[in-house]
């Protein structure tokens, strides 16, 4: 897993609530057997019409909005456990998703792939949307070490929570398997006493 570093970037705003993983990557694109290439079909049915033409009114087809952070409405990533959703987001080029609420499984999948889900308050989410819609060049600064997210234009800042273990995984670029494998003896002992 690649190491997560402090990020300063413009953002892509998607103020829709309850975005489920079927929207992020529809099931018909889950037939691949590798982790790569899902970005092409990220938000497929919102991005393209039935003739595979880009829909002009979708934010990802609007050159005004670009960047490495996706900002979305509450309950992002609900529904199916497909990790393909996190792969698609990462493959497209997002390193961070900001929302006011995340579904559990998506959050875990994102963290396991080096994509940082940042939960902010409803009010701060509104502030981000307002600021970005007024000025699409607004940059956001994500500082994982200090657990803060800051709007460069206004200086508006909020701190966010992250499990300390997961934080160290992101910063150091290691994953859960490395951690559990270091406890193999405990697992074998557990099996014998069970």
């Amino acid at each position: 897993m690649k190491k997560f570093e402090t990020l300063t970037t413009t953002v892509v705003p998607l103020p829709i609530e309850n975005i489920d993983t079927d929207q992020i990557i529809p099931a018909r694109f889950l037939k691949a057997t590798t982790r790569e290439g899902f970005g092409d079909n990220l938000f497929r049915d919102w991005r393209y019409d039935s003739n595979n033409q880009p829909k002009a009114d979708f934010v990802m087809n609007d050159a005004t909005y670009q960047g490495k952070v996706l900002v979305a409405g509450k309950n992002f990533g609900c529904g199916s456990s497909r990790e393909h959703a996190a792969w698609a987001i990462q493959d497209y080029g997002f390193d961070v998703v900001i929302s006011s609420f995340f579904a559990d499984i998506f959050k875990g999948n994102a963290l396991n792939n080096g994509v940082l889900p940042i939960q902010v308050t409803d009010e701060f989410l509104e502030t981000i949307f307002d600021t970005v819609f007024k000025n699409p060049n607004t940059e956001i600064i994500v500082d994982l070490e200090n657990q803060t997210v800051t709007l460069s234009e206004t200086g508006a800042q909020q701190s966010f929570e992250i499990n300390p273990y997961k934080k160290s995984c992101l910063i150091n670029g290691y994953d859960d398997i490395d951690f559990i494998l270091n406890n193999k003896a405990s697992i074998e002992t557990f099996e014998q006493t069970k």
């Binding site: 103020p15 829709i16 609530e17 309850n18 489920d20 079927d22 929207q23 529809p26 099931a27 018909r28 889950l30 037939k31 691949a32 057997t33 590798t34 982790r35 049915d45 039935s50 409405g73 509450k74 309950n75 609900c78 529904g79 199916s80 456990s81 497909r82 990790e83 393909h84 996190a86 609420f101 579904a103 559990d104 499984i105 875990g108 999948n109 396991n112 792939n113 409803d122 509104e126 499990n163 300390p164 273990y165 994953d175 859960d176 398997i177 951690f179 559990i180 494998l181 406890n183 193999k184 405990s186 697992i187 557990f190 099996e191 069970k194």
Partner: protein, 465 residues
């Protein structure tokens, strides 16, 4: 110290607990399927690791399989490749596979229980969010991502934060024509598609207690639709009677030992839950969803809630959902025309569901313009349906009994609902495009689905029974 059922099972599976880290939890049983496993097998190869405990993983092919002519090679190239890849991976890593053509093949959450693989007190995971189904037996069962599938392959463990616990009690008697699917759609409508996030839910109360195992599975199956990782029900005589004698259930002395343990699996009287909700079964009508998440549900005789009645910040998303569905504020849903009826999925494809539908449609005909697909949950369900003559009833009614798989629940195979068409579905998700690009899904119980199949419009089944 008094404990909830979740805590009892969780604590019995902690391999290591260390301050500042998630628990290392031992996983008794790992279920896999063709869609979320290939990248995990690849990961093992890259790390040069074997599957640590191959006997504790069971595989089947379900998400991507056709539901017609399963004896022929899969036509769609990518689907065939993915299913073949599962066969190859299982052979290479020594995993037992109930693939296409095997008498035990079926939807992963249907075969686990019917084979006696799902047992009280177990920890079970699968790369599928509806793994919560197995909680009906008093197991901790939850869906995981592919990186975690790889973790379980490599270590038979997961790193997990201990979840918060919620108790949902449903007491009293259900109305005629109202079943488990209506109970869970009602609860989700009450607490929203995010209301259970962060929790494991224990369902309790007299209305839950009186349900069969199939019905309990329907309830636990949809726990994820309110964001909960899992849902479970304390095992009781209904559970033990269901499990006893099944292929992989303990036998003889082992059965006696297991049973003695299972009888300790309940929440202590004074156990503390992080949240408690109570509902009255008599308040529940046949339910239907009108929007694009499972929380957008209502009693079937109600009108579609107005956009203005939603909190202001939620109105744009709400309006987007109604536009997608082609529905208007305040309109009744009764009488809306139906194009497709899908009876299947890990929520409602068990023998009891098929029996209920057959009993209702016996002597009736489907409405001419409606296409009706019945997709059994497993080869065993299909076999039993045929032995009981249900196939003849379906055939006479114009319903098509297909072969097992996830089918139109997620439209990964060719069973897709065409754009713009309305499908009354016994599955678990009404997301945009879930059953096919621009398909419109209304989630209901098997009985309400059968009623719509016969009348061709959204119908209150209570008036027909």
């Amino acid at each position: 110290m008094s404990k909830t059922l979740v805590e009892k099972i969780w604590d019995a599976h902690v391999v290591k607990r260390e301050e500042g880290f998630p628990d290392i939890i031992y996983i008794d049983t790992h279920l896999i399927h063709e869609v979320t496993s290939p990248q995990a097998f690849d990961g093992l190869r890259k790390r040069g690791l074997p599957v640590f405990r191959p006997n504790q993983t069971v595989a089947t092919a379900d998400h991507n399989v056709p539901t017609l002519n399963q004896h022929l090679p899969i036509k769609e190239e990518l689907s065939r490749y993915q299913v073949d890849m599962l066969t190859k991976n299982c052979a290479e890593f020594g995993i037992n596979l109930y693939g296409l053509g095997h008498p035990y093949q079926g939807i992963v959450h249907v075969i686990g229980p019917e084979l006696g693989i799902t047992l009280p007190g177990k920890t079970m995971v699968c790369g599928d969010s509806h793994t919560s189904t197995h909680g009906a037996f008093g197991a901790i069962a939850f869906g995981i991502g592919t990186s975690q599938v790889e973790q379980v392959f490599a270590t038979q463990c997961l790193l997990q934060q201990k979840p918060k616990t919620m108790k949902i009690e449903v007491n009293g008697d259900l109305q005629k024509g109202v079943g488990a699917k209506d109970i869970i759609l009602y609860i989700i409508a009450k607490i929203s598609a995010a209301g259970g996030t962060g929790y494991f839910i224990e369902y309790a109360g007299s209305a839950i207690r009186s349900l069969s195992m199939e019905a309990r599975m329907t309830i636990c199956n949809m726990s994820i639709e309110m964001g909960a990782r899992g849902g479970l029900i304390a095992p009781d005589q209904t559970t033990f009677d269901y499990v006893e004698g099944r292929e992989f259930a303990p036998k003889g002395e082992e059965w006696d030992q297991a049973l003695a343990y299972w009888k300790t699996l309940y929440s202590d009287d004074d156990a503390q839950f992080d949240a408690v909700l109570e509902f009255d079964a008599a308040d529940i009508a046949p339910m239907i969803t009108y929007g694009t998440n499972p929380g957008m549900g209502m009693g079937i005789t109600e009108n579609i809630p107005a956009t203005q009645a939603q909190p202001e910040s939620e109105q744009p998303s709400y309006q987007k959902a109604l536009n997608y569905m082609g529905f208007a504020d305040d309109a009744p849903i009764l009488g809306k025309p139906v194009d497709y009826v899908f009876i299947g999925s890990c929520t409602n494809s068990r023998i009891e569901d098929l029996r209920e539908v057959a009993a209702f449609v016996q002597g009736k005909q489907k409405a001419e313009q409606v296409e009706v697909w019945i997709v059994p949950g497993s080869k065993q369900v299909e076999k039993q349906a045929i032995e009981e003559g249900l196939d003849k009833i379906f055939e006479a009614a114009g319903f098509q009994l297909r072969e097992p798989g996830c089918s139109a629940c997620l439209g990964m195979n060719e069973d897709k609902i065409p754009a713009g068409k309305y499908c009354v579905s016994t599955s678990n998700r009404n997301f945009e495009g879930r059953q096919g690009p621009n398909a419109r899904t209304m989630l209901v119980s098997p009985l309400t689905a059968a009623a719509a199949a016969v009348t061709g419009i959204i119908t209150d089944v209570r008036e027909l029974i």
